[in-house]
Amino acid sequence: MKHGHRLTLGLALLLLLGACQPTPPPIRVGALYSLSGTMAVSERALLDSLRLAIEELNAAGGLLGHPLELVVADGRSDPEIAASEAERLIATEGVSVLFACWTSACRKAVRPVVERHNHLMIYAVQYEGLEQSEHILYTGAAPNQQLIPATRWAMEHLGPRLLLVGSDYVFPRVAHLMVRDLITAQKGELLGDFYLPLGSQEVNAVIETIRTRKPDVVINTLNGDSNAALFDALTKAGLTHQPLLSLSVSENEMRAWGGQRLRRHYAAWGYFQSLDAPQNRRFVAAFRARFGAERLLSDPMEATYVGAHLWARAVAEEGDADPARLNAAALLRQSLSAPSGIAAVDGASRHLWRMVRIGQVDTAGQFVEVFASGAPLRPRPWPSYLSRAQWIERLSAASLGWVSP
């Protein structure tokens, strides 16, 4: 009896001591996405994906005994605001890592802030490459992991006569530059190279050229709702069987803009929601359980999710969430088995080894894989057939000199 009392007392004291221990301060994770403005639809999805990863990590006990806290900032689709918000998140909010941006403009604006603070940013969208910051981990595709192999596949499987249509800003311009290099090398034929202002619905000239020149394939690097105009016009013109390879249209946009009306519509990504692998099934199930069964997943979302988990593993391995220390080595050696396949960091380029997949759009707007690279591709943000100096030279010649090495 007495012993029982003492034991209980002891246990109670222990519990009390345990209870008295302060909960460790959270590790703060910055999320800088446009929650308003023209990019809101796309970037909100990235935030959800990041939120899922953070919640998973917290459910597994957080990191190094600390819970993770998501600090969200709204970039408002404006690079200047994004830069100032990045400044605030890093300097005031004290975040340990910054998941940020969709557009290259945003990335270019935030990059100097991150570098100035010797901080770490994770960027998860496929982009034009030609960049490598020592403070960014790029988890989206570099050109050699999407644009170039996709064009090569199109020329090989659909035909060498190409028509290019893209929005008039840096990514499509650089992309077309690289596609044209490939056309030259493969002795293909360029039937037209169109640039529409962002948001433009004027696609008549393109449609007319397609109707008269009948290209084997149209390479589409349009961004935003110009895509909807293009898909509508093609459908109206009865060109539903015109092969079309869209490089900036994921599952979300495909359904929104009605891209599934075109019978031979292809997209190139490293990740499709329809991938039949255990890791992806778990990912899709978890995301839908958290955000709703009607939600769609896309490549940038997966890249965000993978980026978060890679960062978390690096923190766990390093035993510290200090961005300067992570940047040095721990983050650059990480690899994991991701929904899209093996996701390994290439330390030399600070990009991920990524698969490339070509999918044909089915009537539901989902992608049916028709091609996949045999293994993840080495990221080459600077396509290797030119040296960095040559690339910079070419870009400035094409008035795209804003690209910094």
Partner: protein, 859 residues
Amino acid sequence: MIRRFSLRLLLGFLLLVPLPLGALAWLYTHSFEQSLRATALDALVSIANKKTDQINTYLNERLADTELLARSRAVRNLLSSPLGQISEDNQLWPFFERAGYHDLLVIDADGQVFESIRREPDLGTNLLSGPYRDSALARAFKEAMALLDTQLTNAEPYAASHRRPAIFIVTPVLDAGLPIGAVALQLDLEELMRVTSDGTGLGESGETVLAQRDGNSALYVGPLRHVANASFRYRVALPEVAEPMRAALAGDHGQGLTGDYAGVPIIAVWRHLPALRWGMVVKMDTAEAFAPVHSLRERTLGGLALLLLTATLIALVYDRGVLASIRQLLDATRRIAAGDLEHQAELRGCTEFRELAQSFNRMAARIRHEQERLEERVAQRTEELQRSQAAYEDLTRRLPVGVYSLRGSATEIGDFTYVSDRFCELMRVPREILLADSSSAFAQVHPDAMAGFLALNCQRMSDLQPFVWEGPFLIQGRQRWFRIESLPSAQTNGSVLWNGVLSDISARKAIEEALIEAKQQAEAASRAKSDFLATMSHEIRTPLNAILGFSQLAMEDGITPRQRELLEKSHEAAHSLLGIFNDILDYAKIETGRIALERRPFTLRGLLDDLATSFSGRLADKGLDLQIDIDPDLPDELIGDPLQLSQVLKHLLGNAIKFTERGHIQIKAFRQAADDAQILLGFSVCDTGIGFRDDQVELLFQPFSQADSSITRRYGGTGLGLTISRQLVALMGGELSAQGEAGVGATFRFSVRVEMLDAQALDSTRERPDGLGLGFDGPSHAPLASIDPDEARELLAALQPILRDAGLVPDPLLARLRALAARELPPGELRILLHEIERFNHEAALKRIARLDAVLRER
């Protein structure tokens, strides 16, 4: 006990030293193991990271080399000149030698290998169509040309190099944006293997395992410690691949304790090498990594065992040395406890133990002495107790009642703790059985009385009141009456001790029963007598009436004065005899309970007037004054039995007249008490006669007695009047009392309970007030009639011839009487008439008939 003590001692020794030390040692080795594990893992992680970096750096340098080469003017010139050849003094040579490649190939845009440093069989073949078109080199060439990007092949056996595993880096050579060919470097795998076979920091059992995924199996690409000649030969299906390697091939990155390809427990770090699609596991056998812990643990355990042994030995020595003395003392105590007080403890061991033994012996001696005295006293007390017991037993044996003691509870009868011999005798049950089972006694309660007995038991068990019960038992088939009396005393343990006696009351019961029977017989006899009287009175009254009637008739004839005197005397005698008989009849009626009170309206004034009228003759004869005084507050109309009320008043007034020679008589009526419905009506009859003494009051009310026997002689009478009156008054809910003074007078007071005639009662009880003191009760009042109509007519019929023969009633009156009867005279009224006629109060009867007739005619 000693053994247990020794065990405890041993346990104490163990608790004192080896156990805490053991716990400490465990804690120490455990934390040492933890930190060793962390340290070993850290060491392995840095080795693995270093190797990963080395491989990546090596490959990246080779990539850079190849791309540099592809952009070099030399290569471009070589490819653009149609007959280009690598001359002996080629610029490529130094480059090649520095890097230590296996081979360097230059391929033109058509896939023709037109230059090779090693000049292996692939030189001069076409990679798109030649024998090596399916090789990794050929596939990489095609990709490189199509994507304009450098390709790094998987490690695969290359036919042109004697199927030695080969890795190629292929870079396209561009001229003006057009791919004009490619350069391919064949890596020397030895360079890579050197990185992995470096066992620095990995100890005896450590190794670096490399494997690449090949379809659904893993192909080990480096040498293995446990598998001979494994490089590029040892192939394992993926599901069977050791855990760390499987994880590494799946792209994972981690570390931990696991098992290797040979099933040996290891501490391992695994990495994925994306460039080669290889998995790398840097590992060490747990046995080696944790050897310091194991040896520390062994040494600690050894030390602990030694400590344990020492502690046990010390405990044993201590046990022998100290405990032997204790044991010997203990033995002595045991012998004393067993009764051997002569035993002396041995003096041995250290001083304390000797002293202890000495005190012990002294104590034993003292006990011995005390015990002897105690034994004497015990013998003495035992003898006394036996005597007392014998006396008690003798007492209970001689007692005529059975004595018992029963221990019960609030819910159960319980068991006998004592029963005397007499108890057993009465119950005819042996004592052992009674003591064993109390129900053997109580089961003998007569079945008819059992329910009552049990109910009383239950009640007494709960209320703890004294238990007293008399009832029949069936003892061996014979019924006996027993009385049980017992008193409860609650015990501290919650039980209840019932101490009681059982007495045989069969004899008393028999006498009681006989007495009851005798009483019932006497009562029956008395009733028979009263019946006889009531019957006989009627029988006697009829001839008496005849005597009275005939003597009256005789006196009206012409007779001599002498005859008249005789007739008058006999008439008087008959009259007095009739009075006596009437009294006896009334008394008999009361005694036999045949008087039933009526309940009908009457007027008090009418009643008293009638009374005065009927006594007017006698009052005048004696010259007495009658004063009637009615309280004016009294309501005139009341409900009650006017007949019985006037009967009482007649007795009292008759007495007053009888015993008063001069003066007056006063009758008062007043209200004694009243409530809403009833009045206690008081009367007093006061005279100035002979009175009586106080001590004579009770005699007045005795039947057949008077205040003084001399009175009987002087005044006559049966002495029943007052008895009858008192009983009638009692019947009417009141009391009759007397007060008097000899020679001054007497006052009789009585009260009767009557009801007030209120308006409501009036409506429901009669049709209208008659004002005549007569009630014409409707059928609803039939119960008030004590004579039913048939009987009334019968009586009337019997009366008629007597009256007519006697010539007492004029014919017209008889006719009217008959007519009244024909109109169904109310039976109550008939009774009054009969009464009046029977008592020869003819005047009153005639008046009543006249009034009745008048009323009936009005109908």
